[in-house]
């Protein structure tokens, strides 16, 4: 079972979380052309190794987290809150 160290709640089972998606995507602005949005939405890397991904602590503090996880071993290298200000606060906490 993957265990994720939520920066707010502590280490929890992955069943408390919902997988989000690729955390490295920079979403275009809302008025960007369809071509940019197409690239952001449909063209995704299928990484073998460490990848940045988002997880939602759905059954916990409801934070969206950026998790660096190995797609081969499930090893988790880092976890931080996606929101930069929340990240600052929770970083001090843990």
């Amino acid at each position: 079972m993957i265990r994720i160290k939520c920066p707010y709640c502590g280490e929890r089972d992955h069943s408390e979380f919902t997988y989000g998606g690729d955390a490295s995507i920079k979403y275009p602005s809302l008025d960007a052309p369809a071509s940019e949005w197409t690239k952001a939405i449909f063209f995704r890397e299928n990484i073998r190794g460490m990848q940045k991904e988002t997880w939602h602590h759905t059954n916990g503090c409801r934070l969206w987290l950026e998790v660096e996880r190995s797609t081969i071993t499930h090893e988790i290298k880092s976890v931080k809150a996606c929101h930069p200000q929340i990240e600052k606060i929770t970083k001090n906490k843990s």
């Binding site: 993957i2 275009p28 809302l30 960007a32 939405i41 969206w64 996606c82």
Partner: protein, 985 residues
């Protein structure tokens, strides 16, 4: 009781005699017996019939690897098939029977299969797929349809009960610093060393007694050990099997709580399914002794050597009087001595040329000797043996038991679950665990260390590794080397028989013979994974614990390769079978999934509601009067709403509080229609798209203040929309100062719909002058009080197309609100209406719900294109017109009428052109109802190109599932009051 029991041997309690029943006969055993030991003590030798050939089988081991003594325990709803008699503890009144046999295991008609075995070789079943030669050769499976039934009946194991499981199961969770799996000498040493260093240790043992293989030693006292461990603070979990190791040193374990008790205790679960999160795991799972493949090596009385020692010293049962031991290694010599001391005549056949030993002269030792074939039919009469140099020259030794030891296989299954490939150790002829990068240490014979002293030493080294995980001192010690026999083991996997078909079994449980492995090779199934599937080697419920290595060695021989070159199949959880009931735990019946009820649930039931499940929610379906059917009831309710007034519980809608200076900016970005200028005190219906331009959800948002909105979502998408808003705010728009809070549970809601709804509301609120057409126009929002002073929110909004309102109140006050509304509605001959009427009303108006917004529909498809702003950008605006989404022939929302007004149709009906009724047609009907106002059935759904294209053309509604067809026409989805005069009244 019988002479097979030896005085002064065993760890059983002779004070306590237990009666049990085997195949309808009464027997006796002692407390501490396993079912297998009790059967052996009673000289019951045939306890099973084999899978394919129905050959008689006896007890072949003393543990979880058992392949012969698979029995059915219990009866009725508690009938449990394929129980290993070797691990089933005896209890008073235990009722067990043999399986896969008729009429019983002693005399089985199925035994005829044994004589037809040449037809049932590996792959027989698959070959029937190819059809009956020569008639069906290569083209059909007619013959398979016939064989399938027969094979399934003849080949098999026990039958599971068809009744619901009366027992309860639990899910349990725990944490610890170090988890030790196995209580043999290595595991015990590790656990004690770690506990002495003040770490929290859980020790798991699958047996009822601690000790592992020490239990086969005469002077070992498991009870004393248990006391010692507990006093050092170790949490001991006996009767618990770690069936899998998962990521992050988490293990799954099954605890058998009452399987050893006569009558299941009403307050105890039968089993507990444990999830234990450790920081370090020590695997001390031991090793299993292998048998040797030679002709008739499966006759009742054939057993592993160590099992025999176990039965003698743990259960006080001497398994034979005249025993032949066949081996290629040193592990059997101690056993031979002990069996001899206990009173058996013992003969050893060792395949090796030179062996240093200290055997007494009373034990016959034949070096350079192989077992060739066991003689006998239902019991062993003797064994033909030969020299390694000359297989054709055979001698017969009279005996009543043959014990086998072809070497030992460390139990690498658990570490294999972590993707760690075992490596072949040629010196000791076994796989040992490969390099592990996680916090897992393997100790003892699971690592291939045979000598007990070295096993204990390895336990200390494992403990040292574990403590290093916690940053504690690390001593400079390393693992003792693998192995430990003074005379090296020599390969002995199979003694080739000259008989055909051979009865040299590799995998007893699935009747896989050495010849089957060679057949697989001849037919091209040479990869181990193909070999496994073609012959079913290692696929029975022992998962190849004993036979796998032999199978691999035979394939290696055929391929002229070494075992490591051939490789091994991957072990996956579970290590031993886990009942489905334990996986399910308490999530059965009503607890299968959570139940959500609205705050007025009881009120609805008290007022006659029939309920229906919508997602997890219980919602009122209809409120029947006297003998009304569902259909009578919803038609009456629909009619009354359109005529006077109706009240409906709408609490299940998602509700989100949106607060903060950027609240307006947020709602304006997520909805397609403009929200930037929504005045305070007004609500707006809005559509949300996904990033890719498809509709996500619809709902309303009410502006309660400068920086505050109250959003409602559909029932189905409530959780999804909440997570979506959080994602946007936390990952994309982190500069927006706005907070979202789910308040779905905090507010109870009711719809008040119908021409008299304003009158009803007026009677319920504190100040009736507020509820006028001017003060509360269509889409107006009011925060006010009920007559009794309870604060509430009212919005003028309509899903039914009538003059209508929704009223929300803090959940705790839901009953009071409903009492007030209902008292007033009755004065106007109003009604309570449920989901069915709600659906009918909205279908008449062509309003969409999740049935229509199914994740494939664009805002234009749903006929709501004019709600998509062209003046602003919002989520999905860039993508909603992309490529295929702007094609002319997309499925567009329309209404459907039957041509013959007496005809009905169902949701799911496929819309086809008249002369082309096939496939997916040109559209689909998604929601249907009887319309009281129109007097016939109506539906909404989608058709390619929409109303324009199909107006005045008769189409066919095809319903192949219900074998129905009717003529239909396409109409506007807005079937009643298309201008909306009623809503604005």
């Amino acid at each position: 009781m019988t002479s097979l029991r030896k005085e002064n041997y065993g760890k059983i309690n002779r004070e306590k005699v237990l009666g049990f029943n085997w195949d309808n006969k009464e027997y006796f055993g002692y407390e501490g017996d396993s079912l297998a030991s009790a059967l052996l003590a009673n000289d019951v030798r045939i306890v099973g019939r084999s899978f394919k050939y129905h050959r008689p089988r006896g007890v072949m081991s003393c543990g979880v690897e058992e392949s012969g003594a698979l029995v059915t325990v219990g009866s009725g709803s508690r009938r449990d098939p394929n129980v290993r008699a070797t691990t089933q503890e005896l209890y008073s009144g235990l009722n067990a029977s043999g399986q896969n046999a008729f009429p019983n295991v002693n005399f089985d008609f199925g035994g005829v299969n044994n004589y037809l075995s040449r037809f049932f070789a590996a792959g027989f079943y698959y070959k029937t797929f190819m059809g009956l030669p020569p008639f069906e050769w290569g083209k059909g499976t007619g013959i398979w349809m016939v064989f399938e039934k027969i094979i399934r009946k003849a080949a098999g194991m026990g039958k599971a009960s068809r009744e619901p499981d009366p027992d309860s199961y639990e899910h349990a969770n725990d944490f610890c610093d170090v988890l030790v799996i196995g209580s043999g000498p290595a595991g015990i040493a590790a656990a004690q060393e770690i506990a002495n260093n003040k770490l929290d240790v859980i020790l798991i043992e699958q047996d009822s007694l601690l000790g592992g293989n020490s239990l086969s030693q005469k002077d070992f006292d498991p009870y004393l050990l248990n006391t010692q461990l507990k006093s050092s603070g170790i949490r001991v979990m006996p009767r618990t099997t770690v069936f899998g190791i998962y990521d992050n040193t988490v293990v799954g374990a099954l605890e058998r709580v009452t399987d050893h008790m006569p009558t299941p205790h009403s307050n105890l679960p039968r089993q507990r399914f444990w999830t234990i999160r450790a920081k370090h795991i020590i695997v001390a799972s031991g090793a299993l002794e292998r048998h040797i493949a030679f002709n008739n090596n499966d006759l009742p009385g054939a057993m592993t050597v160590n099992a025999s020692k176990h039965y003698l010293n743990r259960y006080g049962v001497l398994t034979g009087n005249n025993i032949v031991i066949s081996t290629n290694n040193d592990s059997v010599y101690q056993t031979a001595k002990e069996l001899h001391e206990a009173g058996s005549k013992v003969t050893i056949l060792d395949s090796r040329e030179n062996v240093n030993h200290d055997l007494s002269k009373d034990i016959d030792l034949h070096l350079n000797t192989l077992p060739f074939s066991i003689n006998g039919r239902k019991k062993i009469d003797g064994i033909d043996v030969c020299k390694t140099t000359d297989l054709s020259n055979k001698n017969t030794i009279i005996c009543d038991q043959v014990l086998m030891s072809g070497g030992w296989s460390p139990i690498v299954n658990l570490v294999s679950h972590r993707g760690i490939k075992p490596t072949w150790n040629q010196e000791n002829l076994c796989f040992i665990p490969g390099e592990i990068k996680e916090n897992i240490s393997v100790v003892g014979s699971a690592k291939g260390i045979w000598d007990e002293k070295n096993c204990i030493e390895s336990g200390f080294v494992g403990a040292n590794e574990a403590m290093n995980t916690f940053g504690m001192h690390k001593k400079e010690i390393s693992f003792p080397s693998v192995g430990g026999w003074s005379n090296p083991i020599e390969p002995l996997f199979e003694v080739k028989s000259n008989k055909f078909p051979s009865k040299s079994f590799v995998d007893f449980q699935h009747d896989v013979t050495a010849e089957d492995v060679r057949l697989a090779h001849r037919e091209g199934f040479i990869s181990v994974e193909h070999l496994k599937r073609y012959t079913t080697l290692g696929m029975a419920n022992d998962q190849g614990k004993m036979g796998n290595i032999i199978g691999l060695s035979l394939m290696a021989e055929q391929l002229d390769k070494t075992i490591p070159q051939v490789g091994t199949t991957v072990f996956r959880p579970p290590y031993t079978p886990v009942p489905i009931g334990a996986l399910t735990g308490r999530n059965v019946g009503k607890h299968f999934r959570p139940l959500r009820v609205t705050p007025m649930h009881q009120w609805n039931i008290d007022h006659g509601a029939k309920m229906i499940e919508v997602g997890l929610y219980q919602r009122p379906w209809y409120y029947p009067k006297k003998n009304e059917t569902l259909s009578d009831s919803y038609i009456r309710e629909t009619t009354i709403v359109r005529k006077t007034v109706g009240i409906c519980d709408v609490t299940s809608l998602g509700k989100i509080a949106i607060q903060g200076p950027d609240a307006t900016e947020l709602v304006n970005r997520i909805y397609t229609n403009p929200f930037a200028k929504l005045p305070i005190g007004k609500a707006r219906y809005g559509i949300m798209l996904r990033d890719d331009g498809i509709v996500m959800d619809d709902g309303t948002s009410w502006r309660l203040g400068e920086n505050e909105y109250f959003m409602t979502t559909s029932t189905a998408a409530a959780a999804k929309v909440m997570s979506w808003l959080e994602e946007l705010l936390q990952t994309r728009w982190t500069d927006l100062k706005v907070n979202v809070t789910s308040v779905s549970e905090q507010w109870a809601g009711a719809a008040i719909a119908g021409p008299k709804s304003r009158d009803v509301l007026n009677e319920c609120v504190f100040d009736p002058s507020e509820i006028t057409n001017d003060n509360l126009p269509f889409m107006g929002v009011l925060q006010t009080k009920l007559k009794d002073g309870t604060p509430c929110r009212v919005v003028r909004i309509s899903f039914s197309g009538e003059l209508a309102y929704e009223m929300y109140i803090e959940s705790d006050y839901a009953h009071g609100m409903m009492d007030l509304l209902w008292e007033s509605a009755q004065k106007y001959d109003g009604c309570l209406y449920g989901l069915e009427a709600l659906g009918a009303l909205r279908v008449e108006k062509g309003h969409v719900t999740a049935a229509e917004l199914d994740g494939r529909v664009t805002i234009d498809d749903a006929g709501l294109g004019k709600m998509a702003s062209t003046k602003k950008s919002y989520i999905g605006s860039a993508m909603r017109k992309r490529g295929v989404l702007s094609a002319d022939d997309r499925d567009m929302l329309v209404g459907f009428f039957p041509i013959n007004e007496k005809e009905t149709f169902n949701a799911g009906t496929i819309v086809c052109e008249k002369n082309n009724i096939k496939g997916q047609g040109v559209g689909r009907i998604t929601s249907v109802t009887h319309s009281p106002e129109l007097g016939h059935w109506i539906g909404i759904g989608f058709v390619k190109g929409g109303l324009e294209k199909w107006k005045d053309i008769t189409l066919i509604g095809a319903d192949p599932v219900r074998n129905k067809q009717m003529e239909i026409k396409v109409v506007s989805p807005h079937m009643i009051d298309p201008e909306g005069k009623r809503m604005y009244a």
